[in-house]
Symmetry: D2
Subunit: 354 residues, 4 copies
């Protein structure tokens, strides 16, 4: 059950039909969830509570059809590969994958492999894939590096429009959020004829600062035994069909951090709180491919900055709601060394909020 | 009456004795407040509702004794002169002045004049003063550019430790915040033996998003007639005696924006939401002065990053409280063209918060 | 006599008709040159060797018709006001003025005054003018702050297309470059049907590193008595009619620093080496003005990144040539305290280059 | 034979004993070179002309003993993993590895594996390894992703002080530079009692812009058949024992790009020109490790900024010489599809320089 199923409404905006990042037309999400083993941690063996989530910016190949994008770090104690390209060229030309810290590399190279497999004849790949991470080492044998290229290919193949599975799935399988079971969450807002969708992999925050709709619920909920509280991270992906240029995407990305702040996050020192925003409105951008010579110029549509505020507010609200969705959906999980992280009881949360 | 005088307590931290930026030992604040004229706006004549606020980082000359500093923009639709120097050299070697948008220049050159007047014989000035602004053109004849160098000198001369005057004073005289009368506010927190102080010049936000302690009070308060709502800005100055290096100051600066977010700000498009943080702990930094040759190396103390979180939380809380102090202290003001901006009734606010 | 008049040709590209920033259609440049007094320096009296240069991005008001822009610091020990706006909004909505360090403020406020004087009825200004500086305190009584608003208005009024006066004029009047008389220089390149123009205010560099066309001429030229060698700055303005988005402008701006490097600059510690690039191709951008509501979206033309390299090369070459033009045009000047800074003898330079 | 063996001396500075990055005490370098197969390219089979180079910042574990570091992109069309951490925390807590674009991931995860294998009992890894890349897909079957974790472990194990193997070795095996055979190069300078060392993996530049000691030699040398000229990248690693804080490291990193510019690079659009600088002077920095609680504060030594210029000049010169060393050392190589890339003839180069 998601936040709204418990009667918890965040903000005043209107969600899209799925209240998910997939409300932005064309955006697709796929998960591979890895759950196996129990008991004491044996590096290389398990238990495993991990996975990978793949987000495709639209219905076509991201390599052949890049979109404008921007990025912001609230706290850069984390990894997003491909970020220099997004900053320099202002484009996303890759799927976005979310996974655990120790497996960023294998996921990245697997995305390259996918690009290679789809190359037009006579061309070579130029691939700087985007992979972000949170650390799931409390529940999972993260140092065993169990994610494989095949797991990435499977998540990529499963990527679909429509409802998005949330909670302890995909890259979010072993995550912990504000001392409760964390993971994947999503939400969306429709404003001014545009849709803004946010998907988070939430592994951040301390319990005593957890705030929902302005109520510090964290202090009223039973104490957790979550180790390394606040040492996690949150990755946010913001998608929109509003026609944003790269620097406008970057501005929206920073607003996701404000949603984190409003639910009690602070970009803690050990946290990698990074946000990517892309806009699907301009789809005729030239791909970065060797041996392909694009036309010299192309036409794009840009949103006048005056109209950005509703989008800013939408990003903040949708990020807040995505985090609360993580918490209400994610279920209690027992992982490595028998550690149990409790899911937040949505009914209890709802009562606390009055 | 400040927030706490109304029983409104923000967060869980402990304020310093003055609950002000001046709780950081040595920090001094001085205001020049300009209020004159009534009735229709005549450019160059008035009415005037403006001024300048000067913040000195410690008890000595900031030119001769720079401190480590960093800076962050939540939304860069504003001005902070001297910012390239802070980014490149990691130091603040100037007082910080706050004023209105159209008078940034005269204030900046006046700070240079002050430096020149204090030069050691045989040396020449190298001065990149730090002046930030918000737009007070709804209440004041901003385009008349009424602030003078003498106003700056007077504020500089008045700069003092101890309690800080808040509300519609100094650079904050004509400001509007979340549709209510805005201006200057401050607060502090003592954590781990260090003090964190924040001073804001608040001219930002829309009424319907105003949030205090998680309660969206803005929607419950009478509607305002404030023009250009959300088109303003907020400047935040964060001071601490924790021994931070420049990049750590920059990290604290970004957290001030999270305090803005928690009270309902969003870094709106027309807003210049910029934050400067300086650390007074290391006072032996070499000044940037021509004809002075410093020793080759110097010793500094640095805080291990692991200990940053309480400071992050303190910045967020103190920024929130500084904003609420602005609102509860600032009184109703009538300015240019008879526009009246109402002060927020602290008693009413207190009741809304239950 | 400019570099090419001495037979000194930089690089392989083709200059525009004036070999100046004004080859970019619409770009206008105007100077006010202040030369008065001789003998010992008396602060507030003189001698004065200073001024202001104004660059207008096109034939209309920059306030009403912004253009895309970007910015880069090779070394940020200097000032460019308005830079946060350029970074955040990606636009230049102001003239660009160049002056001395101690007079940045008065020039900035004067640009605001110009905007105010041209406001459409019923609107108010939102002005974050762009003013950059170098330190001319060796030759001029910089601390006397002799530049006035009227000087700015005069330079603005004089701004014209066509040939640009170079050397010790305008903002460059009292500047020193690589130990020789410095000042204003400009050059341009025509590539792929686009024009790239660069104008520099050059006050940087040490003599022994001066390099022209790869020849370290500095070591072969007589020693100078220039005080504070290398303590100066260089400001570069890059204009183009190629259709660049904001982040592409930022990329061109960084290349100006490579031209500085190729002539022997290193972004020395005391130097403020900052570069602004704007593109005049898209002229339908919504202005940042209160009370004006632009259409929601607008169409722009963007250059495919693949075509950037010739523009990068053009920026580098034109910056190199603009610096050499400064040196060959600027004439020997005697200033405060009888200090004489020698102009580089273009004929001698030409001979050194063989 | 290196540049100096051909009588080619770059600049005026004094190299260290090995004229290599390893002149900075403690810095170690190790290569794994992969050369196998000939003839037509078969993806997944070969021919292979690739490898990995590992740089260790000092004689101990980089995980346990981080050093201050900073980073700059001249052109961000490339990858450096771990960059957000360097920006946020100002430290390098990992070896630096250089490899090809398609194998960044496997190398990154292998560095994590190395960290895990060395963990102190009872602690868990927090690893954001630093891996940078250039594209060697003209000479090598890059899309076959032939680099393995074992190759990384071998390079790591081989890392040693003393002379550094240059040219077509390690990560530089299949690289092309200014149309000639590229690869690894290094150089150093001793200034003011400090050592500055630079190591590059050079795969950038077009032939006609190649400039050595100011002479455009590229135009005088026989034409190449190098495909995708200028589409490569250059990664530079700058090491020093001067006591630099993180923001000072960042400033040195930007100067490496000026050395690239002086040899004819321009940060071309398809190029990933990124530079990392670290300082080994302060070795008591707290490691980022879970379960380890460092002392609250620590003492560091900082260099007064006034003394940076000789270091800036040293970085520029050493980068230039490292690039020329790449070119003079690297030998002609035939790779995939029989493509032959010619080594630059050092004797011929020497003659061109007179």
């Amino acid at each position: 059950m998601r936040a709204r199923d418990h009667g918890i409404v965040i903000g005043t905006g209107t969600p899209g039909p799925y209240n998910a990042i997939t409300d932005v037309p064309g955006v697709r999400v796929g998960h591979t969830t890895l759950i196996s083993g129990d008991g004491p941690r044996v590096i290389g063996t398990g238990p495993i509570r991990s996975g990978v989530t793949v987000i495709l910016p639209h219905g076509d190949s991201a390599y052949d059809h890049p979109v404008y994008a921007g990025l912001h770090w609230l706290n850069g104690n984390g990894e997003i590969t491909g970020q220099a390209y997004i900053h320099e060229l202002g484009m996303l030309g890759s799927p976005i994958a979310l996974t655990n810290t120790a497996s960023v590399g294998v996921v990245r190279d697997a995305l390259t492999k996918i690009e290679i497999s789809g190359l037009r004849p006579g061309t070579q790949a130029w691939s700087l894939p985007v992979v972000a991470e949170c650390w799931d080492g409390s529940l999972s044998d993260i140092d065993g590096q169990h994610v494989t290229a095949d797991h990435v290919l499977a998540a990529y193949a499963r990527a679909a429009s429509g409802p998005v599975q949330e909670g302890g799935v995909g890259g979010g399988t072993g995550m912990i959020c504000h001392g409760f079971k964390g993971g994947i969450g999503t939400a969306s807002r429709v404003v001014d004829g545009y849709t803004v969708g946010v998907l988070v992999q939430a592994n951040h925050g301390v319990r005593e600062r957890l705030t929902v709709n302005g109520v510090n619920v964290g202090r009223h909920l039973p104490e957790s035994a979550a180790p390394h509280e606040g040492a996690g991270s949150i990755i946010g992906v913001v998608a929109t069909d509003a026609p944003l240029l790269p620097h406008q995407c970057r501005r929206l990305a920073q607003r996701a951090g404000l949603g984190v702040a409003r639910t009690g996050g602070a970009g803690e020192n050990s946290s990698g709180d990074g946000f990517i925003c892309f806009s699907t409105a301009n789809r005729n951008l030239p791909p970065e491919a060797l041996d392909i010579v694009p036309p010299k110029t192309y036409q794009v549509t840009a949103l006048a900055d005056t109209y950005l505020d509703p989008l800013f507010h939408a990003v903040i609200e949708a990020t807040e709601e995505a985090i609360v969705n993580v918490l209400t959906v994610a279920e209690t999980m027992t992982g490595a060394d028998g550690l149990t992280i409790y899911g937040l009881d949505g009914k209890e949360l709802s009562q606390l909020l009055g």
